[in-house]
């Protein structure tokens, strides 16, 4: 088991109270697993990633525990987390294109980054150059400023940087969203390649684009309004989802080959709830066609089939 998260609660502090952006998440990621994390904007997927690596105000740790390779992550302690960041757990941020220091040549910036983690550029450099080749960047980029690179090149550079010390867990936050489809494919396949070559052990890919996840991920986890809705293998999520939200979400995605004149797709009526004072019980209740009395309680995230977790009272899990 690479990552184990148990009942993790992280809220945002605001002047009008706590926003419950992540309210009780429990899940595991196996060694070598690429997990896709999908959901609408504001569902807490980025909050989850940030709280695993850099939990700073306005984020507030409320409860829960996180284990990485059997070791407990002190996620609430900024200083202790320094030992893990970049070495054990790393992130390719959402705006990776702006993540490079514009006033430093990339090679120099890399050396400084490594020095801050007590590693030497000299030891890592041959590997760095090999990896640049792998992602299709020339060796010259180390002597360039970020401004000289295109968006896609910067993205690949950040990917190489983030994984340079072979972290156990890599989180990639919306890294393909700003790219063109052809570049998108190349970047997504590089992520898989990184896992196959064991630069990273396991990975969380965060995106709102489920069709990308179907191409690269092993499992997909769907979040809704700060809670987990469903986690299963990608085939199961796409072909036989069990949670009503997942079902409606999957069926609302337009595909090449579907035209409005033949098949009119349906959206999900309503809007996600406010997380400042979220409604009691299942947060999808107001938009759910199957909702009934029991939904006033929070449904547990239970295993309905091996490897298939669902949080819905309509599912005959162990607890039903």
């Amino acid at each position: 088991m690479s990552l184990h998260v148990e009942n993790l609660k992280v809220y945002y502090q605001t002047l009008s109270g706590d926003v419950r952006a992540l309210d009780g998440a429990t899940f595991d990621i196996a060694d070598g697993e690429i997990m896709g994390l999908a959901g609408e904007s504001g569902c807490g997927k980025t909050t989850l990633a940030h709280s695993l690596i850099r939990l700073t105000p306005p984020l507030k740790f409320i409860g829960g525990r996180v284990e990485l390779d059997g070791e407990e992550l002190p996620i609430a302690d900024m200083e202790k987390m320094d030992d893990f960041r970049f070495r054990k757990i790393s992130i390719v941020p959402q705006y990776a294109m702006n993540a490079l220091n514009p006033t430093r040549k990339i090679g120099k910036m890399t050396a400084e980054l490594l020095a801050s983690k007590g590693a030497k550029m000299k030891d890592v450099e041959p590997e760095l150059r090999r990896r640049l080749d792998l992602v299709g960047l020339t060796q010259d980029v180390l002597d360039m400023y970020p401004i000289e690179l295109s968006g896609g090149m910067k993205q690949r550079m950040v990917m190489v940087l983030s994984t340079l010390l072979d972290p156990s867990l890599l989180m990639a936050d919306e890294i393909t969203s700003a790219l063109d489809v052809s570049t998108q494919k190349a970047v997504a396949e590089m992520l898989v390649e990184f896992r196959d070559r064991q630069f990273v052990k396991s990975m969380i890919i965060i995106t709102h684009d489920i069709s990308i996840l179907y191409q690269v991920a092993d499992t997909i986890m769907i979040m809704y309004a700060g809670q987990l809705a469903e986690k299963a293998s990608k085939e199961t999520i796409i072909e036989s989802p069990r949670h009503p939200y997942t079902k409606m979400l999957i069926s609302s995605l337009p595909q090449v080959g579907v035209q409005v004149n033949d098949t009119r797709l349906k959206g999900i009526p309503g809007t996600p709830p406010q997380l400042l004072e979220p409604p009691k019980g299942c947060r999808f209740r107001a938009r759910c066609p199957l909702a009934f009395d029991k939904c006033l309680e929070v449904p547990p995230f239970v295993e309905v089939d091996p490897g298939h977790m669902v949080a819905c009272w309509k599912e005959p899990g162990k607890n039903a």
């Binding site: 609408e40 489809v181 684009d209 595909q255």
Partner: protein
Amino acid sequence: MLKLQGISKTYKVGTFGGKELHAVCDVDLEVGTGEVVSLIGESGSGKTTIGKMVLKLISITSGSAFFKDIDITTIEGRELKEYYRNVQGVFQDPFSSYNPIFKADRVFAMVKEEFYPDMKPEAWAEKVDQCLKDVGLNPPDVLGKFPHQLSGGQLQRFLIARALLLETEFLVADEIISMLDASRRIDVLNLLADLKKKGLSILFITHDLSLAYYISDQAVILYRGSIVEMGSTERVYFNPQHPYTKMLMATVPRLDQEWEDIEIAIREKQLPIGQGCVYFGRCPFATDQCSLERPQLEQIESNHQVACFSCKRGS
């Protein structure tokens, strides 16, 4: 309804404006009444530039554009205002289309001031209500609110309602879906489809191939400012001929099948601007002819045109 003939947009770049950048190069395009035409391309392909030229937000460097047989390149003053009554645009980011200091319905008030100054307030309010209902919003829920109190989908539909108030006949929709959540996207697309049935023509600008397929009658594939392939949506999607279109179609992430293994050239070598085929640098089938001459759009079957020498050679 709208007819573009050989329009180009050239920007002067460099320190003293000595270099030229061809954002759009010699594009011919036609949009009929009640027709949805998708402009599909990657970033930098000139799709937004075309949209902005149609809306006269930027000038057309060369070529001509006609809207109902009126040459729009030269119109100004009263005629221009009349043109905007018929042609409106909705853009990608709904949040930046509003002034955050004012309430969102100010966009409606401005329409009234400019175009319907004589209308009675009651009649106007009724008209606003009707348009909001037409785009699937509940008027009491959304009127009198500030932009930050409304969701992206609501704001986007607000803007479409604004276009409807003017009884617009032609809508330029520039990436209007991209900022919306998956569960809301389809509602806006369905709305456009309904409006299309009522006779609205739409120039739908997008980089998302599956969205374009869902709604459009005609698809136009752009690469670096030139049309490489155009025709009816089915023909372009299921019988792509240009190497670029083929590559695009193969890289669309799908839910029913995984990516095939195809080579994607990331590094590209480029020809001097204005010489040869725009796709030369990335094309696996490029020949010497492609580096010297620019291929013209050729009809390969009814309602399907491709600009590529290799397709002609093949047939």
